[in-house]
Symmetry: C2
Subunit: 440 residues, 2 copies
């Protein structure tokens, strides 16, 4: 086996960057033994060259000067782990312009500017590898792009944000409020100082944009994705849903129907307690994919964290060093935006079951009032429970599960119910997602 040294430059010495440096430095022998590639960390660029990190870099490797990386022609691969979309974009553009292949974990940047960056990389005869951008340790990008290439992918259902899954699991299993579960996630390092991007569903949407573009072979933009976060979730709804056999998850869902229409959405979802994704708890991620030839496949693992994400970054570095990424990248063919846009299904047309909670005044004739509103909008009820809990103003919670109905009708029915004087506040509505488990 030919042995080869490949020099790489790392921009961004935060958590994942530190993990990547550790793997290259501490596990270099084992990587070389397995692959024949000796990785050499030529430089690590960060504005913060002072803070202690849990890795010992060789003398002179750490620098504040990006040009050390860009101007060194012996560096073949640039690793962008800065994050964010401004500086990181400039850094990737400069890496590509200076003839380097790029490895990145930057889902926000790829979701927002991926199509532009991919095009530029191709024009420069370079590649961008981004396995680490989606679901950390889980090799889901390569699964979608390579392993399932002989399949028409019908749908994917992903738990792709560990922060949200940790929070929802803690609420479900330990009856914590959203605020307490978030505080605990902070303490355990499962939530960022500012968790907005995670709990708003934005981060899941970034990953869905990347995965859906590979799965459906279309240029996808964030605006194609309907997004709802978990900020408003109450422990009551988790409890009532659980009594009906459901478990609450923030799902990223991509579907394509027989006519080629594409539906992309991220929202809190009640799923059956006995389906595979219901068992994915804590900070773990999982993605279920349904393909024409394979049926269902599911991938499970840690979706974030220093070493799991670094593992995906280093696997990509090796893949780039071997030349595989360039081969795959140069052949990936995404249909352009102009072809994508007309195929994106409007959320109003989504047909879904729903869980609805209303706080009703406890007096005669109330059921007739709200059930009439549902009937007027052709929303058919599959189950309803009036709970004996008491809410503000002596209201009682009534929980309704609907049959499949168009989103447009549900929205109109919710508006109608909100206007009733026997109902207090806005009705709560959470979609029920029936994941089609592949069975023998």
């Amino acid at each position: 086996m030919a042995k080869r040294t490949v020099r790489v430059g790392l921009a961004g010495f935060g958590t994942v960057g530190t993990g990547v440096a550790r793997l290259i430095i501490e596990d270099g022998d084992s990587i070389e033994a397995k692959t024949g590639i000796r990785l050499e960390l030529a430089c690590v660029v960060d504005t913060d060259t002072k803070s202690e990190r849990p890795v010992k870099l060789p003398q002179g490797v750490l620098t504040g000067d990006l040009n050390r990386l860009l101007d060194d022609d012996s560096i073949r691969i640039g690793i962008e782990l800065i994050g964010g979309t401004d500086v990181a974009k400039q850094v990737q553009l400069k890496m590509l312009a200076s003839g380097k292949d790029v490895v990145t974990a930057n889902k926000a940047l790829l979701a927002e500017h991926g199509n532009e960056l991919y095009r530029l990389a191709r024009e420069n005869g370079r590649c961008i590898a981004f396995e680490a951008s989606c679901a950390g340790a889980i090799p889901i990008v390569s699964a979608v792009r390579s392993a399932l290439t002989a399949n028409t992918i019908y749908s994917m259902y992903g738990i792709v944000n560990g922060t949200c899954n940790y929070i929802l699991s803690s609420m479900t299993r330990r009856n914590l409020s959203f605020a307490d579960a978030l505080a605990e996630a902070h303490k355990k390092g499962y939530a960022e100082a500012d968790p907005t991007l995670d709990i708003s569903g934005g981060d899941s949407a970034h990953k869905l944009a990347i995965l859906a573009s590979m799965a459906f072979a279309h240029e996808i933009a964030l605006e194609d994705i309907f997004v709802e976060g978990i900020e408003g979730i109450s422990i009551d709804d988790i409890r009532y849903g659980s009594e009906m056999g459901y478990c609450l998850k923030l799902l990223a869902i991509g579907q394509r129907n027989k006519q080629g229409r594409i539906s992309l959405r991220v929202h809190p979802s009640f799923i059956a307690n006995d389906c595979s994704l219901a068992r994915v708890t804590g900070p773990f991620n999982a993605v279920s994919i349904f393909g024409s030839a394979v049926g269902q496949v599911m991938f499970y693992g840690r979706g974030a964290g220093m070493m799991p994400t670094a593992s995906a970054v280093v696997a990509d570095i090796i893949d780039v060093a071997l030349g595989n990424s360039a081969n795959t990248f140069s052949h990936v063919n995404l249909r352009p935006r102009a072809q994508t846009v007309p195929l994106i299904e409007k959320m109003d047309n989504l047909v879904s079951r729903s869980y609805i909670r209303i706080m009703c005044k406890d007096r005669p004739g109330v059921v007739a009032r709200w059930s009439k509103v549902l009937a007027d909008h052709e929303v058919s009820i599959s189950g309803a429970i009036q709970h004996e809990d008491t809410g503000p103003d002596n209201t009682v919670p009534v929980v309704i599960a609907t049959h499949p109905v168009r989103e447009e009708n549900i929205s109109a029915a919710l508006d109608g119910m909100e206007k009733l004087d026997v109902i207090r506040g806005k009705p709560i509505c959470i979609r029920i997602v029936d994941i089609p488990e592949d069975k023998d």
Copy 2:
């Protein structure tokens, strides 16, 4: 994107071969759109050129003459789906000698002669791609070899034989006897006419040999693997185990400890009801892997069948066509047998918990007798239940769970118990496997 036509020749037109032909012929446009590769099925070779298959080959493609494939220099890739180890080996050798890369799903052949074939392929500057050899639709070979390359893999636990999992699931869920469950598996197409290779554990051992060689970067041979099948499993033990919180699976287990010692085994295993692999039922496969950087990852999907396996074969064909397989293959570095053999742990040294069932005569002093035998061999009891069922000769079943103990001690204790006149027949012993779930 450059478009390219790649001509392939298929040897073996059975179930999987038919699936591969279908994907190439019926999904060729979609594969080309996604990858830029137009696959052309130049010939299909089989001794049976008469039987109807559910695919329509172009006129003149089907032939009984292997030389049509070998002598055609425009065919770059030979697909060997004949199965077995004799003819198939000759065919692969001829494909390599005539300058073709090989794609195969033949686990038996690779497990028995893989090391020799890999070497020959390399000497010819060719590659062998074999994703489809392990766990059908699940991209587990590429996960182990590429995605996890920055990890030291500590262990893997696989349900890699759909026939056995279907049988054990039916016994567990529907209380069927082994014979009835096997008959049903036959009827549903989940068992071969001669199921010996599956139920004996041999097929799982083939897959473990392939996966362990990639995971541990060592040449592994079948003789390194301890194998026990599920032929002897009684519904009683499944029931008693279930009462103790366990579920019975045929597991393929590969472990490497800190000293580099490798333990490889396939046997019926009681695993905790709440662990991920316990939920893998019917013909499905799943593999849990524990790596130094990623923690736990798990992959789940259909492990066999026409289209799932064909999906993996075609993904490999594309990978070979793109040049990726050659890159990866030429760099895979397995330590030779001479280095492997001294590292293989003897089964006697395995430390494991066990489930033991003995059929005891129902008379005073019996417990003292068998418990003394266990104590004499330093087998410590973690739990025991005497069931009220009645066996032959008025015996009663006593079920014992042990603390971790060396296999050698358990074997000696079982021999000792068998000799007791208060025990009827051979004690039943099933290993309990504690899979270290990765938790937050």
